[in-house]
C-alpha cells in the first residue's frame, strides 16, 4: 500500500485552480485521459506534440523530451510521475520527463515501493525477460516473466519464470514442472507445474507463492519449500505482519477455508473465500467470502457479517487501527460502500475503494452517478459533482479532506485542488 508523506502536503483550507485543462485543447491535437498526483498539485496527460511525437503535459507545461509512444502514466506516492516511453522503438521508463539510460525492446507493469522511491518494471530485450528497478536490470534473463511482485519497501522484486526450456506441445514435460519463482533475478531451486500469486513477507526476506504441483494438487510454497498438505485449489497467500506465518485460502471437499502454514486455521468454510488481508497489527484477518452460492460478505477472523451482497464484494480495507473494515458491495447492478457490516443508504453507478481517516472514525469514497463524480464521507455527499475526480485523502489530523477534481459548469474543464473541513460534507 502506498505511503504518502502527508505532513509535507499543503493542508490549508481553500480551493486552488491548478490548471484549466481546456487550454490543453488549444495547445495539442491529441490529449489522453488525465492523471492527478497524490498531493493534487499536478495533473498530467499524454499529448501529441507533432507527427508521431508525443509528450506529457504536466499542468500547463509539456515535458521537454518527446517520444514516439508514451503510455502507462503513473504517479508514485512521492508524487513523481512515471511513463513508459519509446524513442525510435527503444523502450524505457521516464521519470518526471527524464528517461532511464537503459533501453529495452519493451517495458510494462510499472510498480512502486510504498514510499515511491523504488520503481520497477518488467522488461524484454532480445526475447529475454527480466525486471528493472531504478534503471538497474537483473543480470539473469529468462524466456518469460509473469506475476511481477515487489516487496513493501520496493527493494526486492519477484516473479514467475520458466526455468527449463519448454518444448512446444510437450504436455508431459509441462506436467513434470517447468516453472519457478525468481527473487531479485535468482530462481528458487524447486520447479512446479504452475505458480501464480506471490507475496513478500513484511521484512522483505521471504516469498510465498500459490503453486500447482500436478494437474490436481495445489498448495503454498514458501521460499521454494512446499506446505506438507495439498488442496484442490488455493488462492493468493499472505504473510502475517505479526509473526511471519503464512495464510492462504484453500479448497477442501468443494468448500473454501483459511489455512495457516499448511494447517487448518479458520474453523468454518465458505462457498468462496479470497482476498484475505491482515490488520496492520496482524491481529485480525478479514476476507471476502461467499456464505452461500451467490451471497457475498466480509468475514473477520472467520465470522461473516450478516450483511450480504448478491453481485460482488471487492476492495476491502482495514482502518489504521485494525478495528474497522470498509469495502465495496454490489447488489442488483448498483454499487455502494459497506462499513463494519452496514451499507451506506445511497447506491451508485460505480464506487472506488473506500478510504479511512487516520483517526479511524470516517470513511470517504469517490462515487459516480449518471456520469458525474463526487466524494462521499460516511454516506453524506459533497454537494458538488465533477467531470473527473480522484480518490480523496484525509489530512493527518483527520479534520480536512483533499478533493482533486475537474469541474463541470461554470468552471468547465478547470482542475482544482481543494482542501475542505470534513464537517463541510458531514455537517
Amino acid at each position: 500500500m502506498a505511503m504518502h508523506n502527508l505532513n509535507t502536503w499543503d493542508w490549508e483550507t481553500g480551493k486552488k485552480l491548478v490548471v484549466d485543462t481546456t487550454k490543453w485543447k488549444d495547445m495539442f491535437g491529441w490529449i489522453e485521459e488525465p492523471y492527478a498526483s497524490p498531493d493534487g498539485e499536478r495533473i498530467a496527460a499524454v499529448v501529441k506534440t507533432g507527427d508521431m511525437e508525443f509528450s506529457v503535459c504536466e499542468n500547463d507545461t509539456p515535458w521537454q523530451n518527446t517520444f514516439d509512444k508514451i503510455w502507462y502514466l503513473k504517479f508514485g506516492s512521492d508524487n513523481r510521475l512515471t511513463a513508459l516511453v519509446s524513442d525510435m522503438g527503444a523502450w524505457t521508463v521516464a521519470v518526471d520527463g527524464v528517461a532511464w539510460e537503459n533501453t529495452f525492446d519493451f517495458v510494462w507493469n510499472t510498480k512502486f515501493g510504498a514510499d515511491g522511491k523504488n520503481i520497477t518494471v518488467a522488461a524484454q530485450k532480445d526475447m529475454e525477460y527480466f525486471a528493472v528497478t531504478n534503471d538497474i536490470p537483473w543480470e539473469t534473463r529468462f524466456s518469460d516473466l509473469s506475476n511481477l511482485t515487489i516487496s513493501h519497501d520496493g527493494k526486492r522484486v519477484a516473479g514467475v519464470v520458466p526455468t527449463v526450456m519448454i518444448k512446444q506441445g510437450d504436455i508431459f514435460q509441462f506436467q513434470e514442472g517447468c516453472y519457478s519463482a525468481v527473487v531479485d533475478g535468482k530462481p528458487w531451486d524447486a520447479t512446479f507445474v504452475n505458480l501464480w500469486g506471490l507475496a513478500f513477507s513484511h521484512d522483505s526476506e521471504h516469498v510465498a507463492a500459490e503453486v500447482r504441483t500436478s494437474l490436481y494438487d495445489y498448495t503454498i510454497a514458501v521460499d521454494g519449500v512446499l506446505w506438507d498438505k495439498v488442496y484442490t485449489s488455493v488462492w493468493m497467500p499472505q504473510f502475517s505482519p505479526a509473526n511471519g506465518s503464512v495464510t492462504a485460502p484453500v479448497r477442501i471437499a468443494g468448500k473454501w477455508t483459511l489455512a495457516q502454514d499448511g494447517k487448518p486455521f479458520w474453523d468454518r468454510s465458505f462457498a468462496q473465500l479470497w482476498h484475505h488481508m491482515y490488520s496492520p497489527d496482524g491481529k485480525k484477518i478479514a476476507a471476502v467470502v461467499a456464505t452461500k452460492y451467490g451471497r457475498w460478505t466480509i468475514a473477520v477472523n472467520g465470522i461473516p457479517w450478516s450483511l450480504t451482497f448478491g453481485d460482488l464484494i471487492t476492495d476491502a480495507v482495514f482502518s489504521p487501527d485494525g478495528n474497522r473494515i470498509a469495502c465495496i458491495g454490489k447488489e442488483d447492478g448498483k454499487w455502494t460502500i459497506a462499513v463494519d457490516g452496514r451499507a451506506w443508504g445511497e447506491k451508485y453507478d460505480m464506487v472506488w475503494q473506500p478510504v479511512f481517516s487516520p483517526d479511524n472514525r470516517k470513511v470517504a469514497a469517490k462515487v459516480e452517478r449518471n456520469g458525474h463524480y463526487t466524494t462521499v464521507i460516511d454516506g453524506k455527499p459533497l454537494k458538488k459533482s465533477y467531470k473527473a475526480l480522484w480518490n480523496p485523502v484525509f489530512s493527518p489530523d483527520s479534520k480536512k479532506i483533499l478533493i482533486k477534481g475537474i469541474e463541470g459548469d461554470p468552471d468547465d474543464g478547470k482542475y482544482f485542488r481543494q482542501v475542505l473541513p470534513v464537517t463541510d460534507i458531514t455537517g
Binding site: W108, N194, R212, Q272, G294
Partner: protein, 447 residues
Amino acid sequence: MAEPAIKRNDESYKIVDEGIDKGIARLSPEKIEQVINKVLAAETGARLKTYVETCVHCGLCSEACHYYLSHDNDPKFSPAGKVKQTIWEILKRKGKVDPEFIRDASRIASTECNLCRRCAMYCPFGIDIAYLMSVVRRLCHMLGVTQLYIQDTAHSHSATLNQMWVKEDEWIDTLFWQEEEAQDEISSLRIPIEKEGSEIFYSVIAPEPKFRAQLIYQAAVIMNAAGVDFTMPATPGWDNSDQCMFTGDYEMMGRLKKAHFETAMRLKVKRIVMGECGHAFRSVYDVGNRWLAWKMPPIPVTHAVEFYYELLKQGKIKIAKKYDKPVTFQDPCNIIRGKGLHEKARYVVEALCEEFIEMHPNREHNYCCCAGGGVINTGPQYKMKRIKGNRIKAEQLFATKTRGAKVIIAPCHNCHGGIEDILHHHGLDMELHFLGDIIYKVMEKPV
C-alpha cells in the same frame, strides 16, 4: 432406439493421440474406480441423479444430434447412445471399468459431442445431456486422459492465463500494432489501454492477437466510430476464452474467470463487451462464474452480437451502403441456445445486408458447427472426424447456397473453424465472415 453398436474397426478408433495413449498407459482398474467414485461422490449430486433416473431411453434426442444424422442415424452417435456408452455404464458398474473403457469414454465425450445442447431441446424432460458428457470429461481429466492438443491449450491457460501462450508484452504490443495500423485509416483512432473508469472493457479470445489481429483492428474502428468509451487491459485477464471448461479442469476454469472479472473490477468498468466468441460466452456467463459462486457475472457481460444490436439500434453506427452479397447466418449454440440472441442477430444482419437468406433449421434449432465444445481444440488429427460428423451441416449450407446465399455470417470463432473445414472439404464455394467484418465494410467511418 436400437442398442448402440460398438464397432472397434471404425476409423474413429484409429486416431493416434499421445495424450490419450500415455494417459491410458498410466491407468489401472483400481485407480479408475477410486477416482471415479471420489469425483461422483464429491461433485455430482441431485443433478446427475435426476437426469439419470428421469431418462426413459426414448431416443427422441437422436434426431437432434448432428453426429447421429451425419452418420446415417447410427445409434452409437445418438446423445442417449453416448450416455449409454459412458456415464450410464460407469454408474452401473460403480466405476469398475477398465482403461480401454476410459479411452472410449474420452473419445465419445470429447470428440463426438460438442456440448451444443441441441439434444436438450428434443428431450421430453429437458435433460441436459451436455452436462452428462461434461461429467465424463471431468472424470477423464481427473484420470489424466485428455487429447494432447487441448491439454496443451489448458496448460497455456494455466501458465499465461490465455489460450495461446501469448506473453504479457506480446499482448500489449499487438494492441499498439493494431492501433497504429488503424490510425493509417482513421488518424484519431485510439485503443485506450488501462483507462480506469471506462464504460466498457473490451475482451477477446487469445486467437485474436495470435492469428486474427485484424479483428482487434476492426473492433477498434467500430468502437471509435460509435464513440464508445472503452478500454483494454495491459495485464493477464484480457482473454475471456476457456478450454479448461472443456477438458474438465474446473479449478483452472475458475482461476481464469476470476482473473477476467477481477480485471474488469480493477478497471472500474460498468460492463465487459466481448468479441464474437461463443464458448467464451458460455464460460463467463454460465459455467465459470458459477463455479466461483457468482450466481451471475459480477460485472455484466455483453456479447458482440448484442453490442452491435445496441449500436445499430441507437444509431451510433451508420451504414454507408448495405452489403450487397446475399448472406445467411450461422446461429452459434452458446449465444443462441445459451442466451437467446437470435432475433437481435437477425436485426443486425438485416441492418447491414441487402439480402438475408435463412438456413434451415435456424435460430435455437440450428445445427452445431461441430467445432465447438472444445472439439476443434482436440487437434488436427480429429479434423476429418469433425467434417464427417457434420455432413448435415454441409447439406444445410448447400441447400442455403442453392437458394442464393453466397456468404455465411458466423459470430463465433469455433463456428468459423468448423465451417471453414466443411466448406473446404465439400468444395462449397461460400465466403465466411464475422459480423464485425461486415460492419467494418459497410459502416460510415470517421477520417
